[in-house]
Symmetry: C2
Subunit: 326 residues, 2 copies
Amino acid sequence: MNDLLVEVLRGDQVESRHVGSAVVADATGRVVFAAGDVEAPVFTRSTVKALLALPLVESGAADRLGLDDQALALACASHVGLAVHAEIAAGMLARAGRDVSCLECGAHWPTAREGQVALASRGEQPTALHNNCSGKHAGFVCLACDSGDAVQNYIRPEHPVMQRTTAALARATDTILDERNRAVDGCGIPTYAMGLRALATGFARFGSGAGLDGDTAEAARRLRHAVAAHPDLVAGPGRFDTVLMQEFGARAFSKMGAEGLQVIALPEHGLAIAVKCADGAARGAEAAAASLASRFLGEHDTLWRLSRPVLRNWTGTEVGALRPAI
Amino acid sequence: MNDLLVEVLRGDQVESRHVGSAVVADATGRVVFAAGDVEAPVFTRSTVKALLALPLVESGAADRLGLDDQALALACASHVGLAVHAEIAAGMLARAGRDVSCLECGAHWPTAREGQVALASRGEQPTALHNNCSGKHAGFVCLACDSGDAVQNYIRPEHPVMQRTTAALARATDTILDERNRAVDGCGIPTYAMGLRALATGFARFGSGAGLDGDTAEAARRLRHAVAAHPDLVAGPGRFDTVLMQEFGARAFSKMGAEGLQVIALPEHGLAIAVKCADGAARGAEAAAASLASRFLGEHDTLWRLSRPVLRNWTGTEVGALRPAI
């Protein structure tokens, strides 16, 4: 049910292997490439942040609150917790008349070393603004405030904001999302399991607008362009999603998810790639997704580097590399 | 060739899976449990630090330089980079009349958050003393200085220190170690690939002394007892190896290795466990090894927690767990 996705080489010998599943699908759900079981349910985690952000734009809340492209990009982000990320999240909350105290995502240290050192050197502790999901959560708060809903418990499945964002995800992916395929994500909101093909279909639609209502398609276009204009906000310096979109701009909408997920929408092809590394490893999902992307975006230095990253030890010596196998 | 080792649950559904191989063997190489291919070569990485430390003790260098149990424990360690670890490594170097400048392992940030914050809050950068391998490297420097060998390039395969430590590893595991199964480890020294059964056999010998020369068996006993007396030095607070040995002392010698390796010697049983998680994930190797250990050490709260760790999100909510499958 899983195929070999990526081999990890030390010297010229295989040290570790990542298996999983991968699919490329169009907006109708047609599969143009598949490896492994692409119908088995996988929790979609942070891959779907942009789909969950559709109601924020489509409802007009983003415009009424004056959220700019940076805010919209951060609403789709799993950011690395630099000062710029925390500041934009705080600004979104301020637009809704709120502050960090209403965020229900919990606090964690920035994932970027630079962000960790910046906080620690000032003797500060991280706040919920540094949580990689703070932009998504700030967007939820904005949506609640714009609609006049109570903000508290906005992460619970029965809250109107979760109902609306879940409905947007269900429509985009043509899946039934309920308590049977629901669990709790790292940031406290519900995460739903669906087949990898359904996930790719949702992003083929998000990338091209095909199969979406007119207003939803326009919201998707705005979110895509916001992220393409600010790829540094959707992750951070040197991170896969940021590097890919710094290179390809609006030609590739790339988003990781915890436990080995990677989605790349390819708007000009009307397709999207979705990868699940069965063991949950980001490196496996990234290399496999970059390798698949090169079939559509063409051979390219950036895709080569992302699909075959060199492994170096602490003195900088090259000790191995990843090698895609799909 | 790989068996299912561990499932990762989100809610009550399987989100990710770790496959690999696992073996329990005695000092003669007899297999009492096997899952997956236990003869396929795997790079042994940091699992073998204690075997590489045998010449330091057996040669008398440790005694001549006055290395205490803390130093011997750190020579076997993949530590988390707290101040205590860096200080002991510096002390070992001082015993040899050297300092951090001769270490060839490279510098990296402490893996423990507490260590990172401590450095950053003082505006400091990590040095080679914070490298998780600094104790092993300091031991190599001690061995070189005691023998009158030039210290420079002590990490290279042809250096007398690497020749002696590699020979100790080859003897303990009955394997031929040469350029055909050699690659470069994260800290710059050679790492060699061997079957998981050979690795377990080496640690069954290390744990019991059976199959080792008298001087080697005595050196192994001293290293085991040094680590058992200072389990906080071999890794760090909350880490698998430290927690296991804080609970079981000299009844279990536990050592992780990069890319999903875990070894646990069980001296009173004359056995050792070796696990390779095929994808390189520590969590998979740890849960599988703890589960296997409970077959010999008995059902025990600590082993239960280590084999079935609960996954919590950033607000502390329980969102899943690991579940051993072997």
